[in-house]
Symmetry: C2
Subunit: 358 residues, 2 copies
């Protein structure tokens, strides 16, 4: 297939985020006919052998990448991380401990409070979420301990995970597949797809099978993790195209060398931008040095009045999506797996040039 494509911009937006062009090219070739099946990928019955093979392949790739054994269930759900904020306490128990490291953690806590006895184990709210708290008040008898592994708005990230008395539940929406994880440390990991995994419309949930025993059978069928586990995420019609895309992205990650290679690549990409930031007094980092995220880099300009010129200048060089979240303003560069090193290099060079001219 030949495509006459407009030049793609370097999209530093926080999500839905850029995905590798080759992934979209493969998808494009399968919209009207998946392989030689004569039926488009998103027109296949979710009960067909063709889609069944795709569905199984996506799960297999995620299991391989993260080293998940048979003690883990892999679920493909919908409703985003926002829905896991209430499904976790509904299924695991409503006595949850939360580390509040940003807007998404606060939202998860709020849903936990609606449903039961949610407790703040630690918070960095007082310093506008500029760091990851390490001194946490965990309860021995909590049903779970909830953290957000990467905080998109503030640009902080857990580089080591806490020891918790109750099963550790992680919202990994913005850094899943960006680095290896020691799965023995976790009870449940969830992630909306639209940053590192694929387009929006599917949420992956990795849950230790032992925790499935907690699901109350009084919950609506669709809200039980057990329903989706028992039916292989095919109880109802799943979001087949988004799931297919997650598979293409996972294949791409494998082709890049897997998660260890991605982690190295992402650290090097982030360093290019942090180095540019640290090299000039014009740039004021938001995150504490030790907790700097490799996925989202947040900073302000020392002179606020230069911000629009910065954004305009970057845009003129094909770099977009750099405006910080409205809650803290400033600049944010989201550099998920699919952002090439070349993109980070160009941004770093622009930052140096802009600082020199300012």
């Amino acid at each position: 297939m030949t495509m006459t494509t407009t030049a793609r911009l370097l999209n530093f937006g926080p999500g839905p985020a850029m995905l590798p062009a080759e992934v979209w090219e493969e998808a494009s070739e399968n919209l009207l006919s998946f392989g030689d099946s004569g039926i488009g990928i998103a027109e296949l019955s979710h009960r067909s052998p063709e889609y069944g093979a795709v569905h199984a392949d996506v799960e297999d790739r995620l299991r391989r990448l993260l080293g998940m054994g048979d003690d883990w269930a892999v679920l493909f759900l919908t409703g985003g991380a926002s829905s896991q904020a209430f499904m976790v306490p509904m299924n695991l128990g409503t006595r949850g401990d939360y580390v509040v490291t940003g807007v998404w953690a606060k939202k998860a806590l709020a849903e936990g409070k609606l449903l039961g006895d949610a407790h703040v184990a630690a918070s960095s709210a007082e310093t506008i979420f500029d760091h990851i708290p390490t001194d946490c008040d965990w309860r021995d008898d909590a049903d779970f301990a909830h953290i957000t592994s990467n905080n998109t708005i503030y640009g902080t990230q857990y580089h080591t995970f806490p020891e918790t008395p109750s099963p550790l539940v992680v919202d990994a929406s913005s850094d899943i597949l960006s680095r290896p994880l020691d799965m023995s440390r976790f009870g449940l990991i969830y992630a909306g797809a639209q940053k590192n995994l694929g387009p929006s419309g599917v949420t992956v949930v990795f849950i230790r099978k032992a925790l499935l025993e907690r699901t109350p059978d009084t919950l609506p069928t669709m809200l039980r993790y057990t329903t989706h586990h028992e039916k292989n995420s095919l109880y109802n019609t799943p979001p087949t195209f988004p799931i297919y895309m997650v598979g293409l992205v996972a294949k791409w990650v494998e082709n890049q060398g897997g998660l260890a290679a991605m982690a190295e690549h992402n650290a090097a990409k982030a360093k290019l931008i942090y180095d540019a930031m640290d090299a000039s007094d014009l740039y004021i980092p938001h995150a504490a040095t030790t907790d700097r995220s490799h996925m989202n880099v947040s900073w302000k300009l020392a002179d606020d009045s230069l911000q629009q010129a910065f954004l305009d200048g970057a845009k003129a060089e094909g770099m977009v999506g750099l405006k910080g979240h409205r809650s803290i303003g400033g600049i944010r560069a989201s550099i998920y797996n699919a952002m090439p090193a070349e993109g980070c290099k160009r941004l770093a060079e622009f930052m140096a040039d802009f600082a020199a001219r300012a």
Copy 2:
């Protein structure tokens, strides 16, 4: 763009179902860059002006097609019709009356029973859901009355809607946009997209705004219709690509002449197959004549042993997805909006030929 495509089969599957080829062609051209934006359609931020315009356009087209005024809210949710089965009683009140006309109605009833005082107003279960009951025991003080407008498995369809003392709630997953609806008759209509609206991954909910006042604020945020109404279905990241596809399908329906034209077209398509069925004793219709669906045609062969030969013969002529649902067996032809009349004509001709040879 030139595409080397495999010949597309005539896909009579019940869903995810075929969509018009031109819709996929347009989508394909926008995967790597939406128009000349330099960012793929599914890579646009859901907060971007570009996606915002798409989102608003999809809503506008649905409003125009169905003649919905300002007294209606249009929501784009996820979790399929299966999730509306519990969201309806959670939001509208748990005293629901249900007409049980098939598997999906039974599932909605089961969720209603889990949550409160669900009542069977009528059922056609005793005759394997071969008709739409008209004699219903509606309660004057119910919170809502729930029906399934089209029953995919059994091939029955409401051709006139009941008068009910409480607001009428309709699962229209398998016939939405197939015909005009007098919206003054309904309180809430929901539909999973994957039959007539688009790919799987988005659920549309049309709700009379007055009913939004019933939503309890004790519900988890994502489960409240009010959340999605107040935030224009952008409280969290919506399934942007599936929503975009719904817009392309709605545009295609408008280009076909709108819902009155679709209804005429669909009736004529269905007649081709029903006529072929009625012309031979080999074919035994499942649905009562008066309640025959224009979306799904279900029948058996008088001689069961010929079924596989029927399916194989159809497949040899490029017609697939005709196997009946496992719960009743037999043959089913799903002929949603996107199935061309030519497809129904070819199936009818095959049916006549097969009967003549049998």
